[in-house]
Structures are given as structure tokens and as C-alpha cells.
């Protein structure tokens, strides 16, 4: 793809992302940030491509370390975001559950 199109992709993604993310309330800013951590593991795509293209063992090693680090982001980030969101949301469930507990 031509550099021009690639730059357009970046600009459009940036602007769309900005619009959508502006609606996230400050209550959810920490989960938003850790979700972004997880998404930033997307660099694993670059690392995979670069490593498969690389020739020297040193480059393959560097690339593999990069893949491991990025995958850490993906799994750690999404999992911790999930836990946090469940925690924030969880109170509602508890609140709903409480009257039932009292009835019992």
C-alpha cells in the first residue's frame, strides 16, 4: 500500500478513536487505559511479520522477545481489564442480590 493511504488510515483511526473514546466516563478511565494496554499488544503483528522476514539468528531472537512482550500485553491487559470491569459492574449485581438474600 502506498504511504499516502497508510497515513490516511492512521489519521482516520486517530480521529474516529478520539470521537468514540471521548464518551468514556472518567469512572472507566483506568479500565480504558488497561484496555489500551491490551490493544497496544497489536504490535505483535509487526513483530511476527518482521521476525518471519528476518534472516540472522539475532534478529529472530529479538523478534521473538518482542512477540513474547507484546503477547504479555494482550493477555495481561485484557484479563486485568475484564476483572476490573466486573468489579465496577459487580455492585449492581450484589445490590440486586441483596434483597433476595434478605428474603432467604
Amino acid at each position: 500500500m502506498s504511504p499516502f493511504i497508510l497515513i490516511c488510515v492512521f489519521v482516520v483511526a486517530f480521529l474516529l478513536g478520539y470521537r468514540i473514546i471521548s464518551n468514556v466516563p472518567s469512572l472507566l478511565h483506568t479500565p480504558l487505559m488497561s484496555g489500551m494496554n491490551a490493544l497496544s499488544g497489536v504490535i505483535v503483528l509487526g513483530a511476527l511479520t518482521a521476525t518471519t522476514l528476518a534472516g540472522s539468528p539475532l534478529s529472530v531472537l529479538l523478534g521473538a522477545v518482542g512477540v513474547a512482550l507484546a503477547i504479555t500485553n494482550v493477555f495481561g491487559g485484557f484479563d486485568v481489564t475484564h476483572k476490573m470491569l466486573r468489579m465496577i459492574e459487580g455492585k449492581n449485581r450484589q445490590k440486586r442480590a441483596r434483597p433476595e438474600l434478605l428474603d432467604a
Binding site: 488510515v9 468514540i20 513483530a47 476483572k83 455492585k91
Partner: protein, 461 residues
């Protein structure tokens, strides 16, 4: 896989991620939003592995397995109080990978044209800044490094000099011979590393939320730049989204501290000149507890208050007092009082820090008020309980023109009839500005560890 198919799927996955982020704008749908993002991401990884025949590579499969185990280990051992350093650490990993990708391209694969060359160089430099800066920030938050801002003589000049070296390395790589190109890569690597360290070491305390947001943005942008170098539209799009998210959070944090983004990039600190060591207010021994009559009076105020607003700050996080706060709030509610929480955008060490800690203590999110929603309520409140917050409630932000916090929006605790402040000591907060609230009528300052103070108050009720 041909390019058109890849690009179409990349477009669909980007839309899926945007939809997931859209779901993140409400608590009720946020869990689903996160899952949508996770699914889109897994699909993207699978697709790239298929495209690059990475499934056949034992090295890459091992690397992925190692990353999975390490990632899940981190997410299952981290405590909510450690969230800021985990987030900073993970920013660093993302940036570091972008730097590695830049390195591999420059040293091994080679570049096809000037665009790829510039992109690979930029990815290397920006990635190194992100990893170095994030690790210093995470080290400070984890208290492996000294918390106080470390400012070298001629700090600004040094930072600019490093940037100049970086610029020179770019030019060198673009125009010079092969031998010098290798040297230029080395320069970019070290200059990025050095700038990240120099930039973050002078940051502490209340400047941390801005720095973390900024590193978030930089990490995303360096991923996108690495995407330019390898020509991957999905990587570029997601990198751009992360960059915009970090940028938006940085702007919110800047506004909440009345600071300009440019001045932060140039490295001005929000600490007053000649201010005492900000770390001292955290690390010094507690002052002898005030006479117990302060606590008795506070307890009697709590008993007769009908409308209570609680203002948490970083002191609550340090003392892990959120569970005690919840306990106290439940007792007050049991007596028929209404309790809500007013949260300043920069309270704590990262955006949304207080919300997560209170959520950990099972505080319902409906009771958490943002600054704009909370400020009109202070005048009607019977009682405001400040727990470990200082600069964000300091009236000097409105009154004292010559202080660094002047103009910063604050929670209008000064408008409340009665205020109980549970802070560690009566020293100025991070910004180094005396808090006149402490000496006003209708204000009780109880010094000491917030958790034990609250425990005593609860016992008295």
C-alpha cells in the same frame, strides 16, 4: 493470503475494536466491549500468523506461549493498588516491542524506500522513549525508585541536547554511508533510552497521571509508526486508536491541573520553587496525634450529618483506607444519611485511580461523582470527609495567584459547612502549597494514617 483479503479483514477488525470501545462508554456494556476488543485482537493475531506462516515456527509459538503465561501471571497477581505501575509497565512492553521491530527492520530486513526508512527510525526512537519512560514511571510507582522528582542541573538543556542527537542520527541514517547508518541506529537506540529516562525522572506525585497518559499515547503512536515500516494497515489503525485515547486522557488530565501540554513536554514541574521535599510528607514519621477531642468532635459531627460527601485522594490509596471508608459510609447510611463520593480527575496516580479502588471496596459506581457534578453539592452538604486529598481541595488554587496550582479546578470543599480532613500530616501536598483549609472554622484536621483514623472514628460511632 492476498493483500485485498487481508486489508478487508483488517478493516472489519478495526471497526470491531471501535465498536468495543464504544461499548466501554457505559458501565453496563463495558465488560462486553472489552470482550469484543479481545476477540477482534485474537482474530487479528491468528490472521497475521496464518499470513506469515508463523504457526510453523517453533520459536514464535514458544514466544507466544511464554507471553501468554507471563501476561496471565501478571493479571492474576496484581492488586488494585498496583494498577498504576502495571499499566505503566505494560505501556513499556508495547513501546519496547515497537523498538525491537524497528531494530530488526533496520539491521536485518532492510528498507525498500525513504518512507520505510524514516518510519523504522522513528519507531525505534519513539519505542525506546516509551519503554525507558514507562519503566522509570513504573519503578517510581512501585517504589523501587525514589518517588520524588529528580531534577538534574541543566535538565532542560540536557533533554534538548538528547533530542538534537536524535535528530542528527536521523539525518545520518538518511544520507550517510552504510557504516555510519549502523552508528546512527546505535545513536537512536541510546538517545531514545536516555530521553525516556531524563523525561520521566523529574516526574512525581500529581504529575504522574499526565505522564502515564502521555506514555500511553506515545506507545500507541510508536506501534502505528512500526506499522508504517512493515506496511500493516491493522497495526496502523489500532496504533492510531491507542494514540488518540492516550492523547484524550492527557488533555483531560492537563485541563484538570490547569497545565499546558507544551509546558509538560518541555518539562516544567508543578512543584513550587523552594517547596519542601514532596516525598517528606509521605515518608516522615507521623506527628504526635492531635488531642482526642478532635476525633470526638468529628464523631459527633458524623452522627448528626444528613448529607455527607467523601473526597478521596492518594492518601486513601497509600493507607488502603477504601474498605474503612465503605464501612463508615455503610454505618452513616444505616443511620439514614445520604453518602456520595466526589472524585477529582487527577486524584491518585492515574486517570480513574480512585474509582477503581472504591469499586474494589464494593462502593456502588452510581455514588461516584465527577468534579462538575459534585461541586454544586458541597454548599448543601452537612459534612465533607476528606481522606488523603490535599492539592485537589486547596482553596489556594482560586486565591493565591503566585502558586503553581493557581487556576487549577478544585473540589469546592471550602463551601461546605463542616469538613473533617483525615490526612497524614498538615504539610503541603505535592505542589508544595500551604492548604488554608486546614485552619478554617468548621474544619477538623485529624492527622495520622487514614485507615487507623477511620477505624477509631467507626469505633466511636
Amino acid at each position: 493470503m492476498d493483500a485485498t483479503a487481508y486489508n478487508s479483514i483488517a478493516g472489519i477488525l478495526t471497526l470491531a475494536v471501535l465498536y468495543g470501545l464504544h461499548l466501554m462508554s457505559s458501565v453496563k456494556t463495558a465488560v462486553r466491549g472489552n470482550l469484543v476488543c479481545a476477540l477482534a485482537m485474537s482474530a487479528g493475531i491468528m490472521m497475521t500468523m496464518y499470513k506469515d506462516h508463523a504457526f510453523a515456527s517453533p520459536v514464535l509459538c514458544t514466544a507466544i506461549a511464554v507471553g501468554m503465561v507471563f501476561g496471565l501471571f501478571l493479571s492474576n497477581t496484581v492488586k488494585m493498588i498496583q494498577m498504576p505501575q502495571l499499566v505503566a509497565f505494560l505501556h513499556g512492553l508495547g513501546g519496547g516491542t515497537a523498538a525491537f521491530v524497528g531494530l530488526v527492520i533496520l539491521l536485518d530486513i532492510g528498507v525498500a524506500n525513504a518512507f520505510e526508512r524514516v518510519s523504522a527510525c522513528l519507531a525505534l526512537a519513539a519505542g525506546m522513549i516509551t519503554i525507558a519512560g514507562s519503566f522509570v514511571a513504573a519503578g517510581k510507582l512501585h517504589q523501587l525508585l525514589p518517588q520524588k522528582p529528580l531534577i538534574l542541573p541543566g535538565h532542560g538543556i540536557l533533554a534538548n541536547a538528547i533530542l538534537a542527537v536524535m535528530g542528527a542520527a536521523f539525518v545520518m541514517h538518511a544520507f550517510a554511508l552504510d557504516t555510519l547508518a549502523l552508528f546512527a541506529v546505535f545513536l537512536l537506540f541510546t538517545a531514545g533510552l536516555a530521553f525516556g529516562i531524563v523525561f520521566t525522572m523529574r516526574v512525581g506525585g500529581a504529575d504522574m497521571p499526565i505522564t502515564i497518559s502521555l506514555l500511553n499515547s506515545l506507545g500507541g503512536t510508536s506501534s502505528a509508526i512500526a506499522g508504517f515500516a512493515v506496511g500493516d494497515p491493522l497495526l496502523i489503525a489500532i496504533g492510531g486508536i491507542i494514540g488518540s485515547s492516550g492523547f484524550m486522557l492527557t488533555r483531560i488530565m492537563c485541563r484538570a491541573m490547569n497545565r499546558k501540554l507544551v509546558s509538560i513536554l518541555l518539562g516544567e514541574s508543578s512543584v513550587a520553587l523552594g517547596a519542601q521535599d514532596p516525598a517528606a510528607s509521605v515518608s516522615s514519621a507521623p506527628i504526635a496525634p492531635k488531642p482526642a477531642d478532635g476525633e470526638n468532635k468529628a464523631a459527633s459531627w458524623l452522627t448528626c450529618a444528613g448529607k455527607v460527601i467523601i473526597v478521596p485522594g492518594y492518601g486513601m490509596a497509600l493507607a488502603q483506607a477504601q474498605h474503612r471508608i465503605k464501612q463508615l459510609a455503610d454505618m452513616l447510611k444505616g443511620r439514614g444519611a445520604s453518602v456520595s463520593y466526589a472524585i477529582h480527575p487527577v486524584a491518585g496516580r492515574m486517570p480513574g485511580h480512585m474509582n477503581v479502588l472504591l469499586a474494589e471496596a464494593s462502593v456502588e459506581y452510581e455514588q461516584l461523582l465527577e468534579m462538575d457534578a459534585a461541586n454544586p453539592l458541597f454548599a448543601e452538604a452537612d459534612l465533607v470527609l476528606v481522606v488523603g486529598a490535599n492539592d485537589v481541595v486547596n482553596p489556594a488554587a482560586m486565591e493565591a495567584k503566585d502558586t503553581p496550582i493557581y487556576g487549577m479546578p478544585i473540589l469546592r470543599v471550602d463551601e461546605a459547612k463542616r469538613v473533617i480532613i483525615c490526612n497524614y500530616d498538615d504539610k503541603p501536598g505535592y505542589a508544595g502549597v500551604e492548604n488554608s483549609l486546614y485552619r478554617r472554622d468548621g474544619v477538623i484536621l485529624i492527622q495520622g494514617d487514614a485507615a487507623s483514623v477511620l477505624e477509631r472514628l467507626i469505633a466511636m460511632l
